[in-house]
């Protein structure tokens, strides 16, 4: 039998039928839904007089629009409130499970899927959200789709897809202390570029990936889309099985044992070929900070704001000039000299319990600089609860961080958590696009420890040499 990649195994086990040109009707095992990209899909479904084929394979949650402050009185923005209400009503009408805003299980859609055991290895998982790639950490083929495709999945439990190409990103060696999965993925994007993975599914391999925890792998796969790839994959192993075991929606008992045996077969066979291979050394990765308005505009914290005149071609020179103008940065400035106004710890990239534990470890005994406004937004109600049981909220609050309710929050600033024009933010989220965190706001993407250090010092610091 020919050697196969993990991607090929998952893809082939989900082919329902194939057109002559290779367009595939692909079966979808799990579907996540949030309030922003679904209303037009539900409306289309209803207008066509259709019903969801398998309502029980879909899980819905509002996350983008929800306030992160006291929720007992609902959402004050009437437009947001209507969107959330529309999701709830659609779910009620069609028999879809819905975790409401005041349900402890509510949270960012990509945090709650794994948390509930809804995400399992070998599955196909989709959501009308590009960061669906997060779920690839379990060895599931998970990718973002548009609203028309949300309707397609609801109606048919399938999607029409062209088979993507495969890319192996191999990271060997050990990460230096204080560096984390976030630094690995930012370094990868810096290397391949924001379109480097276009048309590909990335499988992350190598010693540095194997030693990441499940949550680290989620951070890694989360940002595959920022490298242009629709999906990222990490082979399931003991870390994966232990994480899944006993989650509310995971298989139990003998069924679990049987599933694990099948999951162990998913890994890429020795000798299987990828269309592209990229290699990195983990020991060469410094803590990363973005300087521009695209995640590929990134450097080590020990580096400097680059000079557009030194860019290899006209296109990148123009893009860099534009970005530096927007970011109000001067070429040659050491990254550690950049001062911050805001710090945001949260988003589906870095808001899980391990992220908060790690961040809290660096916060302990310190104070947020008076010039900085810092906040922590847990990824889900359950993460928040767990953090509070461990006393992490106290550590953050004593240092001067705000401690909020779960949601997307200032990752995209659709709720009230917004940067003011000109404000500069160290953010653990995944996108530094112009205006992403508020019109005129300036975003620097970093890991949680880097965000903490920036909050305390008021500027970036090399966390490796920070006392």
């Amino acid at each position: 039998m020919a050697a196969k990649t993990m991607f090929e195994k998952i893809w082939e086990s989900h082919v329902v039928r194939e057109e002559a040109d290779g367009t595939t009707l692909l079966y979808i095992d799990r579907h996540l839904v949030h309030e922003v990209t679904s209303p037009q899909a539900f409306q289309g479904l209803k207008l066509a007089g259709r019903r969801p084929r398998r309502p029980g394979a879909t899980l819905a949650v509002p996350d983008h629009n929800v306030p992160t402050t006291d929720r007992r009185f609902g959402i004050s923005d009437p437009v947001s409130a209507k969107q959330v209400k529309t999701l709830e009503q659609n779910c009620k009408d069609l028999g879809i499970t819905f975790f409401g805003m005041n349900d402890i299980r509510q949270g960012i859609v990509h945090v709650i899927g794994p948390e509930q055991g809804f995400t399992l290895p070998g599955m196909t998982i989709v959501c009308g959200d590009s960061h669906t790639s997060t779920h690839g950490a379990f060895g599931a083929l998970a990718f973002g789709i548009g609203t028309s495709e949300v309707e397609h999945v609801l109606s048919t439990q399938c999607l029409l897809q062209k088979r993507p190409k495969t890319m192996e990103v191999r990271v060997e060696g050990a990460l230096s202390r204080h560096c984390s999965a976030k630094d690995i993925i930012l370094a990868i994007i810096g290397k391949i570029g924001t379109a480097g993975g276009t048309g590909h599914v990335i499988e992350y391999t190598g010693g540095a990936i194997r030693s990441l925890t499940m949550e680290g792998r989620m951070t890694l796969c989360n940002m595959s889309i920022e490298g242009g790839a629709r999906a990222g994959l990490v082979a399931p192993d003991t870390h994966t099985f232990l994480y899944i075991k006993d989650r509310p929606l995971a298989p139990k008992g003998e069924l679990f044992e049987r599933a694990v045996r099948a999951w162990m077969q998913l890994t890429t066979d020795p000798g299987a070929k990828f269309d592209q291979v990229v290699e990195l050394r983990a020991d060469e990765i410094a803590p990363q900070v973005t300087w521009g308005t695209s995640p590929g505009m990134v450097t080590g914290v020990n580096g400097k704001v680059p000079d557009p005149r030194e860019m290899p071609d006209e296109k990148s020179r123009k893009a860099a000039e534009h970005a530096l103008e927007y970011m109000a940065l001067t070429p040659g400035t050491p990254m550690t000299k950049i001062k911050l106004d805001r710090v945001f710890i949260g988003s589906c990239t870095n808001s899980r319990i391990e992220d908060l534990r790690l961040a809290a470890q660096y916060v302990k005994g310190k104070k947020v600089a008076p010039s900085v406004h810092a906040m922590v937004v847990p990824g889900s109600g359950l993460v928040k609860q767990q953090a509070e049981q461990e006393g992490l909220d106290q550590i953050f609050k004593e240092a001067g961080f705000e401690w909020r309710e779960a949601g997307c929050s200032m990752c995209l600033a659709m709720n009230a958590d917004v940067l003011q024009p000109g404000e500069r933010c160290a953010s653990t989220s995944n996108r530094n696009f112009e205006g992403r965190q508020g019109k005129g706001g300036r975003t620097h993407l970093v890991s949680p420890p880097m965000a903490v250090a920036a909050a305390v010092e008021g500027h970036f610091v090399d966390i490796r040499y920070w006392s």
Binding site: S13, V16, R17, E19, D21, T23, L25, Y27, D29, T37, P39, Q40, A48, R50, R54, P55, G56, D77, V79, K82, T86, L120, G122, M123, G128, D129, S130, G144, I145, G146, T147, E149, E151, H152, T156, Q157, L160, K162, P164, T194, A195, T198, G228, R230, L249, P251, F256, A259, S294, K315, K318, A319, H322, L412, A413, R431, F433, G435, K439, G440
Partner: protein, 205 residues
């Protein structure tokens, strides 16, 4: 969905790389539960300069591009969020065809599902078109999906690739959900097979 066969139309230039969907349509327009009315949000944050005056560089602020139906742009157009509001907003503004050296995957797919044809030409061809568009006011191109060609006023012909399946759906304006539903028995057979192979996938919520 409106079919796409041939289109002769005015071309508007957007000379930026990595245009993300947050720029195409900012988040405040994502709160809608409709597909229409998104035109006012199209490239909203780029319409004015920091001092509040209209940015003359943006094509939307130049009357010579009023009524454009073809958007000419650069690499990795439509990257970022999966929001289908991006193609909806472009469609609302009147664009039926986009030309670039590359598109981000999800956006590319979303275009086809909304009757917009994304055309990939190589970087030199796109560069030549940018020069031509800037040089002559009222510059039009003819895009023929069946023939897979873009023709300039000087009768230069550029060829592009497109998947046969997507091409056929767009040419005929087919509803892809309807097409997939025709295979209902095959879907059901697949589900039955999987229930025995991988039963842990099936306990529904």
């Amino acid at each position: 969905m409106q079919p796409f066969t041939t289109l002769t139309g005015l071309v508007a230039p957007l000379d930026r790389v990595n245009v993300d969907t947050d720029q195409i349509i900012p988040k405040q327009f994502l709160k809608t539960i409709e597909r229409t009315g998104l035109r006012e949000g199209l490239f909203l944050d780029w319409r004015k300069k920091q001092d509040g005056t209209p940015d003359p560089e943006l094509f939307l602020n130049q009357t010579r591009y009023n009524g454009a139906t073809i958007l000419l742009t650069r690499d990795n157009f439509g990257c970022g969020s999966s929001r289908e509001h991006a193609p909806w907003a472009l469609l609302d503004q009147g664009f039926r065809c986009l030309i670039a050296p590359s598109f981000a995957d999800i956006f590319y797919n979303n275009c086809f599902l909304n009757g917009i044809l994304p055309v990939v030409l190589n970087a030199e061809e796109v560069q030549a078109l940018f020069q031509a568009v800037r040089a002559s006011e009222g510059y039009q191109l003819t895009v023929d999906l069946a023939e897979q060609t873009v023709t300039t006023p000087q009768k230069t012909i550029y060829r592009f690739d497109v998947d046969p399946f997507r091409k056929n759906c767009l040419l005929k304006g087919l509803d892809s959900i309807g097409l997939s539903l025709q295979h209902e028995p095959t879907i059901a057979a697949y589900e039955n097979k999987r229930k025995t192979e991988a039963p842990w996938l099936f306990p529904d919520l």
